[in-house]
Amino acid sequence: MMSNNKGTPILQPPTTESSIDISIPGTSAPSDEQIAALVVESAPLAGPTMAPPAAAALAEEAVTGTWQNNVKIDALWCIDETRNAWMRVVGVGWKKIYNGRDGAFTALVTLASQARQTGHAVNIREEPDGMIYEIYLW
């Protein structure tokens, strides 16, 4: 079960297509042959093919923030100050990344950076203080 008091992801990815042969178990020490058999040719991830997760699903989560779904990040910014980084959301503008805890801040920055690098869509939750508290990277 996924429940805990810190919250859990509740949305499903836009696509569940996979080219991996799921009949092959992972191993702690894979052989070269296994690696060769498992590695698939690199192909661009399909863009989101599903509508953004329904607002009804989001409402199940006990948070008060505002969600923006299926948006992209086109710029990042940071400065030599403790936990001060921003991301620019296409069509929205600059948003500060939650800075309350080191671990959470670092994870959110990583997700934002990956979104910027790959061009993949994100769902983001903004709280009244203007910071981004939660990110789904698809």
């Binding site: 079960m1 996924m2 178990p25 992972g26 702690s28 671990g103 959470a104 990583t110 990277l137």
Partner: protein, 367 residues
């Protein structure tokens, strides 16, 4: 303790069965099955729970209770094979000529509880041989005298059950020597369970919440020829006790949906429906498992989503077969490291190897 009736009865005359079904209004269809083609002693050896002849064949009080519509904690019907269009049930198996049905019913329940509670399509095939030839054997149980589900679930909780490839099943008493010594790194455990015999509301609630439960019942001879429909005992002698996995129910039809372990050549492709209150299905011994965790490498898969929020070390990944699972969170920098590696694999659309233990990822290969 004998598992079947003291004297093996003569096989049921199928003409008598057809007449009895006709007289009863045709509640279910009989036919030639892999079981009906066997000799009577071959059939009864598959009944691996000591029979309880004191239970009524038709319990009208339980039938009434089960069909009552005031259950508010469970839906009016449920079928693990179709939950919102998704099939969480694992494959029907064949226990062969051994009274190991308890191991099969228990393993099936564990597989289904893991898959349904985690909403995952991760393949899971547990070793009935480990359950029966190691855990049951340690308690003096064998193909001839059977076992009990509450004992099997106790072993599954306290010791664990290996994956099937670490001790594949063959019918016939044997020792534990074929068990792969690495099984502590490739097993499943029940987190907790409860015996809920006779509590129909809790049976439905447990099935619809956790996906499946174990149940036992008295088998009469007519059951061997079951093909489809809602089974009710109409004729034949008591042959023994049997354990199966209940994967659903249907209040409109007044029945439980069960998965048997006699292969797909018996019943409705290995499944059957049995009427509420019939043959002790609720009261014989019914157990609910309230969670199953695994410790194993998952099938290699792709990362389709990553997630975090304002809490430290609360990072989750969505595997293409596993679904959402939390990254190890003992130390924040550990989950951050895993996030970085998974993000790289995701960006490249490459597979990852994930080692799951107690609902979180402990080790990663990112190719």
């Amino acid at each position: 303790m004998g598992f079947a009736m003291p004297e093996t009865p003569e096989a049921l005359n199928l003409d008598i069965l057809r007449d009895a079904l006709s007289d009863a209004g045709g509640p279910w269809e009989s036919g030639t099955t892999t079981m009906s083609l066997m000799e009577e002693h071959e059939r009864t050896i598959r009944l691996g729970v000591p029979a309880r002849p004191e239970l009524p064949a038709h319990d009208t009080a339980l039938l009434t209770a089960a069909t009552a519509v005031d259950d508010v904690t469970a839906p009016s019907s449920f079928d693990l094979r179709n939950v919102g269009g998704v099939n969480y049930d694992t494959a029907v198996k064949d226990q062969g000529g051994c009274g190991s049905c308890v191991a099969f019913g228990t393993a099936a329940t564990m597989e289904n509880v893991y898959r349904f509670t985690h909403r995952t399509q991760t393949p899971l095939d547990l070793s009935e041989a480990h359950l029966f030839y190691c855990h049951a054997r340690a308690e003096g149980r064998n193909c001839g005298n059977g076992w009990w589900p509450d004992r099997a679930l106790t072993a599954a909780r306290d010791k664990g059950v290996a994956f099937d490839d670490y001790f594949p099943y063959t019918a016939g008493d044997q020792d534990c020597s074929r068990l792969n010594a690495d099984w502590p790194n490739r097993n499943a455990k029940v987190t907790s369970f409860e015996t809920i015999s006779g509590n129909v509301a809790k049976m439905k609630e447990s099935i619809s919440t956790y996906g499946a439960i174990t149940a036992c019942f008295n088998v009469f001879q007519d059951f061997f020829s079951y093909r489809t429909g809602v089974y009710r005992h109409v004729t034949g002698n008591l042959a023994g006790g049997h354990c199966v996995c209940l994967i659903g129910y249907d209040d409109a039809a007044g029945c439980w949906i069960a998965r048997n372990s006699w292969g797909t050549g018996w019943g409705d492709s290995g499944y059957f429906r049995i009427a509420y209150g019939e043959c002790g299905i609720e009261t014989f011994q019914t157990c609910a498992a309230y969670g199953v965790n695994i410790r194993a490498w998952l099938p290699d898969q792709q990362i389709l989503g990553l997630w975090s929020n304002e809490y430290d070390a609360n990072i989750w990944a969505y595997g293409s077969t596993r679904g959402w699972i939390k990254l190890d969170s003992t130390v924040a920098v550990t989950s951050q490291t895993m996030l970085s590696e998974l993000a790289a694999a995701k960006a490249l659309n490459r597979p990852v190897g994930l080692f799951e233990d107690t609902d979180s990822i402990k080790q990663i290969y990112a190719w």
